[in-house]
């Protein structure tokens, strides 16, 4: 294994302490009843009105006690996560998620309110998916030597790939932190990193300030569309590395190609089960065909999210390092 386990911290410290104040008492009570090992490994907490409370552990839904989420629990949770100010979250309701301090992301489901055929907001919220943000410092350290080209003192253009829940965001966050700080053992000096965090999940920004550690030399454009954000950084902030989460649209690829020709290293993540699947995504194939991806790091869920399955390079892609 190249990357160590992401999960399994001890129970001594209550896991995800920043999240408890946002959970209604009945829900918090049911979760506290779970065994410590399960609680430490919780990836998601799912509340659905009229349905049993569930948590996701290692990609599988597990019921949390016998609690059936009532409308009052849902209402209380919505009030807590919105600071009783749902009216101030119209943009978040339109996008379908909001970010809590600490970077925990809450996906929202309910009844869509349309305007000119587009979703303007959500009402009657009946489903919440709280994704627990995990900050695992050092998880990306074993990857850095594979991505750093010492001769040219640059970071290779890299895409981290995994199915949902594979630990992409956690690894990206740590990679950004390491490149920003520098790694003395590799004689890698810290460098300016521009992070375009469209879904506020990497840096966990709350009111514009990064709540998770993304390094001392990192600028974050929070909540900003990727294509626009990448261009803004290129023009104004002089980054040496540009990082962003979940690329895949043609507009993202156009912006990334522009950044590559400006001499900036790229760091991105994409949804795909394997390198072959990544090649089948048209926009990403175009990016790779243009030589804008030098390394593809495939992450897997087993035995733990964030485990490196393989590192690929070149075009067509060929394996340069095996994780097994």
């Amino acid at each position: 294994m190249i990357a160590p386990a992401l999960i399994g911290q001890s129970r001594e410290i209550e896991p995800w302490p920043g999240l408890w104040p946002f959970l209604p008492s009945r829900v918090a009570g049911a979760l506290r009843g779970l065994p410590g090992s399960v609680l430490a490994a919780v990836e998601e907490i799912r509340l659905r009105t009229g349905r049993p409370l569930a948590v996701t552990v290692a990609g599988r839904a597990v019921p949390a006690g016998n609690l059936v989420v009532e409308a009052a629990d849902m209402q209380a949770c919505v009030e807590l996560i919105s600071a009783s100010s749902l009216y101030a979250l119209e943009e978040e309701l339109r996008r379908g998620f909001l970010t809590l301090p600490g970077g925990h992301r809450v996906g929202l489901a309910g009844q869509a309110v349309l305007s000119d055929g587009k979703v303007r907001a959500l009402k009657h919220l009946a489903g919440l998916n709280i994704r627990v943000a995990r900050e695992v410092k050092g998880v990306a350290a074993p990857l850095v030597p594979h991505l750093y080209d010492r001769k040219t003192d640059r970071i290779r253009h890299t895409v981290l790939v995994s199915p949902p829940g594979g630990g992409k965001t956690t690894v990206l966050r740590d990679l950004v932190r390491l490149l920003s700080e520098g790694v003395s053992s590799l004689r890698l000096p810290g460098r300016a990193v521009g992070l375009v965090d469209e879904r506020s999940e990497v840096a966990g920004c709350y009111r514009g300030v990064a709540r998770l550690d993304v390094g001392p030399n990192t600028d974050v454009l929070d909540n900003c569309p990727k294509a626009q954000g990448l261009m803004m950084f290129l023009r104004s902030m002089g980054p040496r590395v540009l990082a962003t989460d979940e690329i895949g649209r043609e507009a993202d690829v156009d912006a990334l190609l522009e950044a590559v020709s400006a001499g900036v290293s790229l760091l991105a993540t994409a949804h795909a089960g394997s390198a072959a699947e990544l090649c089948r995504r048209p926009a990403l194939a175009r990016l790779m065909g243009a030589g804008a991806v030098e390394r593809v790091v495939v992450l897997g869920r087993t035995p733990t999210p964030g485990t490196v399955v393989g590192i690929y390079g070149g075009w067509p892609l060929a394996e340069v390092e095996s994780g097994g």
């Binding site: 104040p21 209402q75 209380a76 919505v78 009030e79 919105s82 600071a83 009783s84 100010s85 749902l86 009216y87 101030a88 119209e90 309701l93 309110v113 907001a121 009402k123």
Partner: protein
Amino acid sequence: MVKLLGAAVLVLASGLAGLSVGSSYTRRPRELKSLQTGLKLLATEISYALSPLPEALANVAARAPDEVAPLFRMAAGELAGGGSAAGAWQKACARWGEGSSLAPCDLALVNQLGQALGISGREDQLSHLELVSGQLEQQIAQAQEAAAKNTRLWNYLGFLGGAALALILY
């Protein structure tokens, strides 16, 4: 001499009681108007500043007329202490209502606003605030009418009633 002094005290006490009842009739429309101003400030905070509710309430408390500022300040304080917006608003209403001159029906109106506060989109919040503001308008008209009729009545009634009682007892 003692009787005369007693009669004077009786007239004075009764007169002051009358004045106090009379002034509560004058205070009610004034407080209702202040409340309406406070709710308009809250609507501005919600629609333009998009401030989160605890901050919005604190901002309104800083700018609202003195009579109603404590209501918003108490609600902001309650909300900051955790719990739901409805609970915080209702607790603040109950505490503030004790010292105000509002009639129970006015307080019920304000109290009921808590049920909607912060739990829906901007337009919905504004329409709730407008609705309560409109209902307050009616209450203001009614309170002004009652004030015009009753203030002078109670002012005179206090002194004259006291005088009549003094004469009977004399």
